[in-house]
């Protein structure tokens, strides 16, 4: 068995190279101005850091925080009860539920977001149909923060439901019997048994939803009609216009947030089970 350890070595090297080198490069770029990736005319400077206080950056950061938090909380508020209902249902349909929740993900995320965007516009198929019957009704919110949040929820809700469901499903039902036996009514059982034992799944769900919402740019761009600025869109803009320096700097901000998240994960679970 011990001889098999050697198989992990190449992977170690791979991970270190692919993570460390880019990181170093990004740190280096943050402190310079370069023309794209040409280091020949590089100038060491703090100029990029002063750009951090630009309005667009502050707004972008605030928007990212705001929308990601709202979307995550909404996913939690919707996802936990749903996972709970599924885990307590009599028929053991875990497999079916998992598949049904994952099925939408087989449709391209951009197409789905775009379709939702049409739904939230003034002129779409459904409003057209309704106006033929004489009803003038539309949800015209595309381009607003609300539509971005709804778009985020639509995309990432399964990522909250699945980990919570997995954890809830694993809870031994005799524990519920035991709590009831010892005088706990269903509300108390939920508070003292279900919630503590599902915390791991909730943590996973929150991380799986919050991070992409915070750092993504596809959904905000489409649902926000290119008007809504978030961290991800700022980074993307910078890299499109070849301003790798500032883009790298903001990326470092993101990485900082992620390191904190990883720290939280490693405290909560030791065997890598949280993310399964």
């Amino acid at each position: 068995m011990n001889k098999l350890k050697r198989f992990s070595l190449p992977y170690l090297i791979l991970l270190l190279v692919f993570i460390a080198i880019p990181m170093i490069t990004m740190i280096a770029l943050s402190f310079m101005t370069t023309e794209g990736m040409h280091f020949s005319n590089a100038v060491f400077t703090f100029a990029n850091f002063s750009r951090l206080t630009e309005i667009s950056v502050i707004v972008g950061l605030w928007n990212s925080l705001k929308y990601a938090t709202i979307a995550t909380l909404a996913c939690l508020a919707i996802g936990y009860p749903l996972a709970y209902i599924f885990s307590r249902s009599k028929n053991k349909n875990g497999f079916l539920i998992t598949l049904l929740l994952v099925l939408p993900m087989w449709s391209n995320i951009l197409l789905r977001t775009n379709a939702l965007g049409y739904f939230f516009s003034a002129n779409n198929m459904i409003t057209g149909l309704l106006s033929q019957i004489g009803i003038n009704w539309s949800i015209d919110i595309k381009g607003t923060g609300l539509s971005v949040v709804i778009g985020l929820i639509m995309v990432y809700l399964p990522f909250m439901i699945l980990p919570i469901y997995t954890v809830l499903d694993k809870i031994d039902t005799s524990l519920y019997d035991a709590s009831s036996d010892l005088g706990g009514d269903p509300i108390r059982t939920f508070k003292k048994v279900t919630i503590p034992l599902s915390l791991k799944g909730v943590t996973t769900g929150i991380i799986l939803v919050f991070l992409p919402c915070f750092s993504g740019f596809a959904v905000p761009r489409i649902m926000g009609n290119e008007k809504i600025v978030m961290l991800g869109t700022i980074i993307e803009d910078n890299f499109i216009y070849m301003d790798y320096n500032f883009g790298s700097l903001i990326s470092m901000l993101l990485i900082f947030a992620i390191v904190i998240a990883l720290f939280v994960i490693s405290k909560v679970d030791k065997e890598g089970e949280t993310l399964l």
Binding site: F18, I19, M26, L99, W106, L111, F119, I235
Partner: protein, 305 residues
Amino acid sequence: MSEQEMQSIAALNYNDVNLTWLYRFFHRNHVAKFNKVFLPILKVVFIAFVFLVLYLPVILIAVQSVNNSADPASFGGLTLQWYTEIFKYRSLRSAILDTLLVAFLTLIISTVLGTLFAIGIHALEKKKRQKFIILNNIPLVNAEIVTGISLMLLFSLLLPIFPSIFGLPTMLIAHVFFTLPYVVLSVLPKLSELDANMYDAAVDLGDSPIKALSKVIVPAIWPGIIAGAMLAFTMSIDDFVISYYTTGNGFNNISIWIYSSIGKTSLKPAIYAYSTIVTLLASAFIVVAILWNNHKRKAGTKIEK
């Protein structure tokens, strides 16, 4: 239950001091009856609402795939013409084929490597293994945009040596890199369920290490490998952000094609047809999987009887 009955039961049991106020509230006589009828309906409505939110866009896409009008704002009657046009446009056609190519290659490379790496990790001592797993999880937890940009920077550094590296090679390497952790995480739990002595037993009985692995270990962890393979394929075929940053030289995958066409006339309705076909295929897969599952369960209980 009458008041009197409830009183005598309360007397049996320390006067019900253990009941939470919330429970009491929901079980006062009139509220309790209301609950019995109301709650199940609420549950169904809630579940329906959630599935609506998740599936509405998918349904809209399906409708648009048979919409005679190319403009999603209006409905122009049913047609199947878009389905015939999927391979008509060169850009879309090559995007689809390139996506599939990358996905299949990623599937094979990632699954094989991931399984080997997982076996290696599993063989480590507990402390080292835990640290390794944290390292393994970093690409998973990293924001996609950071991973994409990191890889782009890394490949850029190699440009002097490999001037035309961007394109299929970079996208493939990128896809393998970001799907490996998923495969590892799928295979590892299966490995820990195994008897630790299986491999040694096989070698002891004369198998060469490779034989021991392939004849003994691999079949035992097969479900994990399959799950990992499916994950790798799924993540690769629909990937956007990472592919976006690691492509070049006109090599597109579907997501990039879509992103660059959104809102423009270059967004052919054929893409909706393609997406609907994928959805239908996946649904068929699910139905088969469920029937297979049911069949296995019934066969199991028959043998028991």
